[in-house]
Subunit: 311 residues, 4 copies
């Protein structure tokens, strides 16, 4: 199967992990989810991310989920393998690359502080995983408290050849995209694919700044595809009109902790997954929150009919 590389573009949807109401992996929903993403036109999938409830799965379940997804689609699949140590990271990576994963995503350990420690971490990870596994660096300071500056990303690109992609979710992050692109154009940095996260909250401008696409899990991946394609086609204004219509819901879904419950609730209401349940410890929306999401969907449906729900 194709591997991700420094020129990968488009939308990689971060997939939630569907559970049955008794807490097991919901295979039927996983299959339906894969079909849904293909129909939505995404360019790839990412599983076992933070919002895929990866830490709540056992090792066996993690591999099972990756297998269900990878064997079900011809889309490239990136697998989150972040772990507190390189032992478990290596194990999971070997298993999913054997299954045909397109690459792995690694967040920095939350204890890293200096630039040198961050660089060394990715050097050691790459050494542990071997030279043939393409790595996506997850740059998410809000959650991990680790700030990776553009010069450090340039050093990682220079010294860790298997790093090919950046999941960009620094906040603020627009100037960072421009800085990385300028460094590449001026020959100071190897090119990395830049796919943007943060729930899509800045995707309008991120694309205009030169990002290659999105890697995030907004409950309407169709919108992410539209924004990426419209911007690429030079129709930024239409992209922004559509983006603005979704922004109230994007903003609501971007609440830490609450966001995944919103995402699963909407995907459940859209008929994609059988149950919105999270595995413990997880949140369910309160009735007040459900009403708010319903209101946002209703308002959105007047501008984007895909948001009309029948159930």
């Amino acid at each position: 199967m194709a591997l991700i590389d420094a020129h990968t573009r488009g939308v990689f949807a971060i997939a939630p992990t569907p559970f049955t109401s008794d807490g097991g992996l919901d295979t039927a929903s996983i299959h339906r989810l894969v079909g849904f993403y293909e129909a939505a036109g995404v360019d790839g999938l990412t599983v076992l991310g933070q919002l895929g409830e990866a830490p709540k799965l056992t090792g066996r379940e993690s591999v099972q989920l990756a297998r269900e997804v990878i064997t079900r689609t011809s889309l490239p699949v990136v697998v989150g393998v972040s772990a507190p140590g390189f032992g478990a990271m290596k194990d999971l990576t070997a298993a999913v690359m054997d299954l045909g994963a397109a690459g792995v995503m690694i967040a920095p350990a939350h204890t890293l502080r200096t630039d040198e420690q961050i660089l060394a971490y990715y050097q050691q990870a790459a050494e542990a995983l071997g030279p043939d596994v393409p790595i996506c660096v997850q740059d998410y300071p809000l959650t991990f408290s680790v700030v990776i500056s553009p010069p450090v990303l340039a050093r990682i690109a220079a010294e860790v050849p298997s790093v090919v992609m950046l999941k960009h979710e620094d906040w603020p992050g627009l100037e960072k995209i421009s800085a990385l692109r300028a460094a590449h154009l001026e020959g100071r940095m190897r090119r990395l694919s830049i796919l943007c996260g943060n729930g899509g909250l800045f995707l309008d401008f991120e694309m205009q700044r030169g990002a290659d696409g999105a890697m995030t899990g907004y409950c309407f991946p169709e919108l992410l595809v539209d924004i990426v394609e419209l911007t690429a086609a030079g129709d930024a204004d239409q992209a922004m009109d559509l983006f603005d219509a979704h922004l109230p819901l994007i903003r609501y879904e971007q609440q830490p902790g609450t966001g995944l419950a919103v995402r699963k609730y909407v995907m459940h209401r859209r008929g994609i997954i059988s149950s919105p349940v999270q595995r413990s410890p997880g949140r369910v929306l309160s009735s007040g929150e459900r009403d708010e999401v319903d209101l946002l969907l209703n308002r959105l449906s007047k501008r984007d009919p895909r948001a009309e729900l029948t159930r």
Copy 2:
């Protein structure tokens, strides 16, 4: 002058601190700013907050700024007095209460960890400031890394009588507002005024959840006033239409670090402050950022004519 209390409602605008291009306090702009806020219909002002660049002022300048504002308006003025110790906090509080401030705002020390430590901190602060100074608790976990749960707020309300207001900017925070209101209604908690921050990013729903208003610094305070008044008048739908029109800009202004530069840039373009400059260390918008803000203003002006700029 009137003091804030547990029933204070409306919009308290967080005022930026205007500087002249050589870095001094810009008194003329301060006066113009006060007039602008009065015309916008706000119910009070807050100075020397985080986004008021308070830490960059000397003790003398802090008092001078408070004096310029307080003596210039009949609106109640809350003054941020957060400090690494109670010595400086006490000094500044005494000075501004003498000048006629309506109360003070105190953020928790970033080192606080347990519930008991948080409660003790506000007890000690209140004891240091004396019983006659109304206190607004600033609950801003994103910046301060201190999480104050509803039960702890109930204990603070019970044990620290001079605490009368909560500047609510937990994230997510909607359920917290509901929890605090329910605790009050069920007799488990003394009432606190709840004014919401976070740049207004959730003000639509915060008002619907029972907040008393906003205390934040969005560059169109008129919008904050509209949302609060329309929601209070039962016209939530119209409030949301207006809110959604501003959301792309609200979202852009809510970027940490960048936000104040956006705010000052827009207020400068609106003719309110003479210079968008921040005192060092400060950010100025890049040309890319200025273009993005201009684009957002231009798009907004089609739905809210107040966003039309002539200069």
Copy 3:
């Protein structure tokens, strides 16, 4: 095999994980290590702790290490099962309890902030592991940034019956031991076994304050056994004389990051493990550090002949 309970006393040695020079688990050294601990008179063992390099092992290796130790000794063995989620925690716990482990040790997730979050975490962990698995709470704020106050420990004791032991390494922590003991004596708290960590740096006074023993990995576990037994026998003065002789080395070994390299170096020099190597990412002592440790051992040997090294 016997389980730990709220009355467990004595010294539980935190075992390092020995590796061969090519990075594999060194089974021969593991066996020798177990024999050494038994000869030193410890009352139990703890494996897969932070300083057991647990995160660097694969899932399979973790179980293998636990099996090698548990099947080799009749001493109770506590197994560290901390993980970023309950999935992996449950897996490893089931495996090691089947093998005959005496209980498991769980550190709080580093993201916990409020008292309620900490309590909920241990409730959820206990629910995930089932009611028959005795739990040791690891209270180590320096590393985990989570502060568990005595009232919260009392609530955990009240609401999570399977929690029976505290690995106490708060710093400072002497008053905490007294507070917990007083709470128990005054009927405000269920008794927990308290075994102290922090490399033994305060073991002299911790025993006098009422701790039940030590759970730490100092390279001379014989000293820990002596301190616990001498204090229990009422001979605090002799205990302190012996303790003071070891303190320069205890202090040196207590340096974060460096400490494990010191411990493995000394255990290697004592002929217990074949190689001082750590799995990547790991530290080896510089020649300057080795000279310093040798000097400390040499000085110590004049007061405690067990520190005389022949190799």
Copy 4:
């Protein structure tokens, strides 16, 4: 008065701030304290440090304290001027340099994350204070969560000429001293004076690694002077004998939060300050802690008669 520079050597005692029992500055004790330090043979003093309760003083009191000390002694006096912003920092610096301070000490803001941010912070601070104020960088990751690596210190030395001294209290820190000294000797770094903190816990080896002295507040500054002088005289072995005798107390005083209460208690018992009281929020020793300190002093006095107390 003489300024600190890159060749400053010896012991700079961190002075506690004595208060009267009603919470005011205790001028008589301040004078006695200065005399005591001179008699102890220290080479300089540091006031308004973290353990000088600086944040609890008002701006006026801070200047008053500095004046009382500076005008009372011919020793060089370093003044802690750390503040959340450059406004207050500049104010206090101007005042104390006018009074004759030898330089100022600045800790990094706790929000700094990347190497670039740390460098920029000291550049901005130096620019705010002006080129004639010698700066001591306080490198204390345990409290400030900011890790300054040797390469970053080399960059600070290269780009901020007014930085002349490092208050070294990284932990572990021995290899850091060696790295900084090697960088200097190999021409890769401008020389900085290195004075060590951490309560003296590693002073024996820090001097052997090439430190220039100590800047810390252990309650027997005579011991710090002895260690520095004996090591400089080539008598490391005698230095270590003396050091080891004090280590049980040094270790006890090095407990965060508790340490200052120990220090003030011993200095009070030694007749140097009239009251051990701290300004709120402060700790007083429990009776259990007082007994432990008394026991440590009693045991110490058998090896160092200066620890014999009559009151």
